[in-house]
């Protein structure tokens, strides 16, 4: 219907479109520059990079894949970390989605005493910087025997406030009468959730899946505290341990950093459609 010929408007619109497009292209280029430059840097001798900073110029004479060759040679723990990260991310994402959806369903579909108080607690968690409770949480983790184990990382985050919040918003769009129909059919309350609601939530699972996965893959401070042994470290922690003035590890550092970005970007590109669909279908209605 916007194609209705309206001479003046069409011209105006194409002019603004071009301007807009230019603006967006410019922004996109700015956003991509760091990716581009760190990738170039990964092809150059790393110590030089640390000393001089990164640039944009391509100098084929000093560029090579030596760093990557070293990375893939298996002499470093890089891929142990890589595997740890994949494992923790996978477990954490699946568990968090499941538990959060479960909880969100309770919030969205029922009226019960203390609901508002509890939901305020969800918001409350969102506002507690993790760093504040780090010290006691650390002591607790030790008491629970979860140090240096992936459960110490996963469990505190298993009922994530953001996914709960998001799923609740998503579910509040589903009419409760729909549930009553299922009840009449003899479904138990949990049956309703697992058989009827969970499949309906697929798009929002995709959206939150990327969110949770991304946070888990990149999570830094807490895993740094919980994990100890170097063969249990995750990728960000492992990479960070290479940034030290007391060792020569920069070769692995920069190309390792670049390589660590690849899986998560691929995941995003694959699920991009579902992600955007899920995000946009859910919406934050407040």
């Amino acid at each position: 219907m916007r194609k209705t010929p309206k001479g003046i408007k069409t011209r105006k619109f194409s002019w603004t479109t071009i301007l807009l497009l230019l603006l967006f292209v410019l922004l996109a280029v700015l956003i991509l520059i760091p990716f581009y430059s760190i990738f170039l840097a990964s092809l150059r001798p790393s110590t030089e990079i640390m000393r001089q900073g990164i640039g944009l110029d391509i100098d084929l004479s000093i560029m090579s894949f030596d760093n990557y060759r070293h990375l893939f040679s298996g002499q470093t723990k890089y891929f142990t970390w890589f595997f740890n990260s994949i494992k923790i991310t996978a477990v954490q994402t699946v568990l968090t989605l499941l538990v959060s959806a479960f909880v969100a369903y309770g919030f969205a579909m029922y009226d019960f005493k203390g609901k508002n108080v509890l939901f305020t607690c969800v918001l409350f968690i969102m506002m507690i910087p993790m760093e504040i409770i780090m010290l006691p949480l650390y002591q607790l983790t030790i008491k629970l025997g979860l140090m240096d184990s992936m459960w110490g990382i996963i469990l505190p985050a298993v009922a994530g406030p953001l996914p709960i919040f998001f799923f609740r918003q998503y579910l509040s769009g589903i009419s409760r009468e729909f549930l009553d129909a299922a009840r009449v059919d003899g479904c138990s309350e949990f049956g309703i959730f697992f058989r009827i609601i969970a499949p309906l939530m697929k798009p929002s699972f995709a959206a939150m899946g990327i969110f949770v996965g991304m946070n888990s893959w990149n999570s830094f401070l807490w895993p740094m505290i919980v994990l100890r042994s170097s063969e249990k470290l995750t990728l960000p922690i492992g990479l960070n341990s290479l940034i030290t003035p007391y060792g020569n590890n920069y070769d692995v550092l920069i190309c390792g950093a670049v390589f660590s970005v690849i899986p998560i970007i691929l995941l995003f590109l694959i699920f991009q459609k579902q992600f955007i669909a899920g995000m946009t279908a859910g919406g934050v209605k407040g």
Binding site: L21, I31, G106, M109, M126, I133, L135, L137, L140, G282
Partner: protein
């Protein structure tokens, strides 16, 4: 898939182990609508109690103690009194400036970008959405390293190199004599990482605005700006509130950005010292757990107050 989920349900609620698919209500517990919600939110309550309430309480207790191995004892308000003569002032100032600056950019700008991206006239929406979102996928370790090298003080580092084309001398961006350069670097990093995420939130919000509203507005002769002002802005308010809330929270709790940019919790002149950075220094680096907890409690009170006031003003609670 379904099976798996059922299995998970079993572990959550052992009594769900034998739900007969038939219509007989053998297990009233399973079918009780009164009990069900409590069972659903139980995992949250557990996690909340164990990993949040307990630590917050022990944090409060520790903030009144001097915590040293084997000799922990109560020292009353000493930790809180000491707050006022240390570097906390600078840390708070840095955090507040950073929060204000980042909110000024990361809240409104993505809104505009999202509106454009949502417009039917826009070309290549999906590409731009993806590109803008990419930085959020990058670990702060990698992002910090990259930006540290971009903002390097040597003339060969990217930014100085570019500026030298305009005849500008190399600037010491990170912790240089002028404070604004540090904030600038932090702000660029923050915008780079969060713009795309916030665009997604706004896009999500925009989907909830019915297209018909715009169509009827167009029929009434409203131009794009009028439509934006009288339809988009008011209807996007909940999303705006949400984005503002998380941005304030994120700004006040900022630590890792500075930690990675400065290669540790050490910035010259404390230019990158934030509240959490201060807490980290006291609690972890100087083993002053009690003092660290006191800083934490103050930050907690501050974030809660600001966010609650902000939510109150924006009428968030009325909708509950």
């Amino acid at each position: 898939m379904g099976l798996k989920k059922n299995a998970a349900a079993v572990t959550k609620e052992p009594k769900a182990a034998a739900p007969k698919p038939g219509k007989e209500r053998t297990n009233s517990l399973l079918y009780s609508q009164k009990l069900a919600p409590y069972l659903f939110v139980a995992p949250f309550v557990l996690v909340f109690a164990i990993f949040y309430i307990y630590p917050v309480i022990s944090s409060i207790i520790m903030s009144f103690q001097e915590v040293i191995p084997g000799q922990t004892h109560f020292i009353g308000l000493t930790n809180y009194k000491r707050l006022f003569n240390g570097d906390l002032g600078q840390a708070v100032l840095n955090s507040v400036i950073y929060t204000l600056l980042s909110c000024a950019v990361v809240v409104p700008v993505p809104m505009l970008l999202a509106v454009f991206l949502n417009s039917k006239k826009m070309v290549g929406k999906n590409i731009f959405r993806s590109v803008f979102f990419l930085p959020a996928l990058v670990s702060i370790v990698v992002a910090g390293l990259t930006f540290r090298l971009i903002f390097g003080e040597m003339p060969t580092a990217l930014l100085n190199n570019v500026l030298s084309n305009f005849g500008i001398k190399p600037i010491k961006w990170l912790g240089g004599p002028a404070q604004w350069t540090t904030f600038f670097a932090l702000l660029v990093l923050c915008c780079w990482r969060w713009t795309g995420v916030n665009i997604m939130y706004y896009l999500a919000g925009l989907q909830n605005i019915s297209v018909e509203l715009y169509e009827s507005a167009e029929i009434d002769g409203a131009n794009a700006w009028q439509q934006f002002r009288s339809i988009t802005v008011p209807l996007l308010k909940p999303t705006f509130t949400y984005v503002l809330t998380i941005s304030i929270y994120g700004g006040l709790a900022m630590f890792l950005e500075s930690y990675m940019l400065f290669n540790g919790n050490r910035s010259p002149g404390g230019a990158g010292l934030t509240i959490v950075g201060y807490l980290y220094r006291l609690g972890w680096e100087q083993a002053n757990f009690g003092f660290g907890c006191a800083v934490g409690i103050c930050l907690l009170v501050a974030t809660l107050t600001i966010n609650l006031v902000q939510l109150k003003i924006s009428g968030f609670f009325k909708k509950e």
